[in-house]
Amino acid sequence: MILSRRSIILSGITVAAAGTLPVFAYAAAATPRRLVFIIQRGAADGLATVAPTGDPAFAAARRTLADETASGAKLDTMFTLHPALATTAGLYSGQQAHFAHAVATAYRDRSHFDGQNMLEGGGSRPYGRSDGWVGRLLTLLPTAERAAIAIAPAVPLALRGTVQVGTYAPSRLPQADGDLIAGLSALYAEDPLLHPLWDSAVKTQELAGDIGGNNGRNGADLGKLAASLMLPADGARVMMVETGGWDTHSGQRGRLNAQLRGLDQLIGALQSGLGPAWNDTLVIVATEFGRTVEVNGTGGTDHGTASTAMLLGGSLALGGKVSADWPGLTPAERLDGRDLRPTRSLESVIAAAVAHHYALDPKRVMTTLYPDA
């Protein structure tokens, strides 16, 4: 029942091509509900994604990046959506997008790996759990809705748990090159220069869904692939999609624009690929932490704390709204004088959205997804 690790050519993927994949041996789902968790690895800048342009301290703090969002959609009197998120803006006006701002997990340091571990594991400290919140959620779902898959070379922590989960690994390399990579790993094993370089290159390639590349079309391809894996009656019902490249320490303007354009196309392709099933789909987009309020010396931002999470789909509780207990951006209002101060737990946002989506008891969802909270 599990899709084994396979490589496909990401840029060439189509629904038709994906149709030749081994199919899930599940019975038709009792309900058509679907869940997609898109992780933004690298700390996505929530202050540029959903910019608090109505905050009087915003322009001064963001200096050269303050007009990054100038031409974006006005979400309300306070917030402006990044202009690269055009499809998402359309969803927002149709009550199919919700942004939760100034949110963070319980993690308060600024290491990517620890932060991602907390976001996925849902524990109260890094490496505190060996299973993840999605994996635990699966135990609450009817068998027919448990079919879960990650577009990743290995099962990510978020999906780990007692229910078995499939993976599917896209790669820009042709399929045969999985063997080439293995062959080169052996050939470089004794080489003191190449061994560590190659090790890191392979890991990066596995982790980073390069959605920003190829003018956003990589994002669209990924979204198409995800939809094609979820659309069939016996397809996956729960999916995790990996995206990387959010660590914009320098030259944020262009890089974040490309990233968000990729994300926007991913979301758009997912929506159009799922067709009517979109109405019963919940998409959660979240990152491990946010970025500094101030711009740094290289036109970028450094590791911060609170960020933005996105909820998307056809049946949201609070579509077309930005929810935030806004902490303000002046130095005194910031966390440690530098970061957007978190005023709400990301865990509670995720749990509430999931409980609404599956019509489950919110308390039970919270204690299952975040037992240490």
Partner: protein
């Protein structure tokens, strides 16, 4: 000892599969010094300076018109991601001159029967680096390598220096065309008219000549030397670009794109540099300084160090640097003699290749091995090297590309090479047997492990990719 591989890759640009055996590596290299052709066929059809200068002027003047036209012309997929300025540029003729020159450079590198001198062309073009970051420079960079560098790499260093400095690409890149003597007749006239913004000195070129091209950074020169040298260089400018204060003084018969000396822009009087007085008037003043700088002991040491590094290691052996510097001083900077001293030295001939090929070196050696004459469309060449992290003639700094292992040995770069090798190998398919190709290409550097890995590959294409990604082939 991997002498065959080192001759072909450390000194040359990689072996083509059907090349004759190298035989005696030192003789093979020495012979190339005599056989060198400074005007290879691949560069023959490229545009001259006048055409390039005219293209730039048209680009600038038509910018408004192009802005309007761009709005009406449907964009290609590639253009959609560009910013508007780059898009206009990409449609212009100056960009086309760049694209054609990069393709010609690659073709020449693949076709050359004298790969050692061809490597030296690349070395010197990088030593006297110009960078296609400026709109004025983009069109000229290829012409610069072909007309200022290629003809002079076997002669005296002083001739190479003068040719590089006086080429429009260098004058424009390092702002010489906008530098005027503060007391020159022209500046004085502007001042007397009561114009507060009087044209003045720009030290950029003078400083970089001292710091990068000749003496070397933090050596014997002072800020006073930089200023004096900058004053001596005033008057040198480029004709036919139609802008800047000096243009009205341009001789009417000057060809567009030609380097000209305009006396009324030149700072009058003698200049003192490194304690020596230069009294000559006009253009002769800067030239006299350049020729003295070219044979200065600090220059000898600087050039010897860079050349030794390129053919040995990040920290070149002191004995080799000393030997090359001594030869440089003895011959007054005779470059062919310097190359012969390098070939004859023991230091480059180590047991195994230790330097990491630059993206350029690696790609050229791969294409040479397969004798692939070109890479599809001409514009692919520039784009590919940009992707690999070494855009052609665009190092982004007058210091050129750094020449060390750590500059190029990165994890993402390594993955990109593997991907490119895979793509090329996929195109070759089973038309080449990697088990036969490997001993030809890697020669005496072929290790049993690499040989086995290639033999065990599950397809010929994968074996070819394995060969080009092998630890030895990545090095030189």
């Amino acid at each position: 000892m991997a002498v065959q591989y080192l001759a072909a890759n450390r000194f040359g640009l990689g072996r083509r599969f059907d090349d004759l055996a190298i035989g005696d590596p030192k003789m093979w290299l020495s012979r190339q010094l005599g056989d060198y052709d400074p005007a290879p066929a691949a560069t023959a059809g490229l545009a001259g300076r006048a055409t390039i200068a005219t293209a730039y002027v048209e680009y600038r003047e038509d910018r408004q018109a192009m802005r309007r036209a761009a709005a009406e012309t449907p964009m290609s997929e590639e253009e959609k991601g560009m910013d508007p300025e780059l898009r206009r540029l990409s449609r212009s003729a100056i960009r086309r001159h760049y694209v054609e020159a990069t393709a010609a450079r690659l073709t020449a590198a693949i076709a050359t029967p004298t790969p050692f001198p061809e490597r030296l062309v690349h070395f010197w073009a990088n030593h006297f680096a110009v960078s296609a970051d400026k709109q004025t420079v983009i069109g000229f960079v290829g012409n610069y390598e072909n007309e200022a560098i290629r003809p002079h790499i076997m002669g005296k260093f002083s001739d190479l220096l003068v040719a590089a400095v006086k080429h429009p690409a260098m004058l424009l890149y390092l702002d010489q065309a906008q530098s005027f003597g503060p007391e020159s007749p022209f500046a004085t006239r502007v001042r007397n008219r009561g114009n507060r913004r009087s044209p003045g000195l720009n030290e950029n070129l003078a400083r970089e000549i001292l710091e990068l091209h000749t003496l070397g950074v933090r050596t014997v020169y002072t800020q006073a030397d930089v200023t004096a040298f900058a004053k001596a260089l005033t008057g040198l400018t480029v004709a036919g670009l139609g802008r800047g204060a000096g243009q009205r003084l341009m001789p009417s018969d000057a060809e567009p794109g030609a380097t000209v000396f305009i006396a009324p822009l030149h700072e009058p009087g003698a200049q003192t540099l490194l304690g020596r007085r230069y009294g000559a008037a006009g253009a002769a003043q800067a030239e006299a300084i350049l020729r003295d700088l070219a044979v200065h002991p600090a220059t000898a040491r600087h050039i010897a160090t860079k050349l030794a590094r390129h053919f040995t290691a990040d920290d070149p052996p002191g004995a080799l640097v000393d030997r090359l510097a001594a030869d440089f001083l003895k011959t007054g900077g005779d470059l062919a003699s310097l190359y012969r001293a390098l070939i004859a030295s023991p230091e480059p001939w180590v047991a195994a290749p230790t330097m990491f090929k630059s993206p350029w070196d690696w790609t050229v050696s791969m294409l040479r091995a397969l004798k692939i004459p070109a890479l599809g469309e001409k514009q692919n060449v520039a784009a590919m090297f940009t992707q690999l992290g070494q855009p052609i003639w665009r190092p982004g700094s007058p210091a050129g590309y750094d020449d060390k292992v750590a500059t190029w040995a990165g994890s993402a770069g390594l993955m990109q090479r593997v991907e490119l090798a895979s793509r090329i190998a996929a195109r070759i398919g089973d038309r080449v047997d990697p088990r036969q190709l490997a001993p030809l290409v890697l020669a005496d550097a072929l290790s049993p492990e690499t040989g086995q890995a290639i033999a065990r590959a599950d397809s010929p294409g994968q074996g070819i990719a394995m060969l080009f990604a092998s630890p030895m082939f990545l090095r030189r």
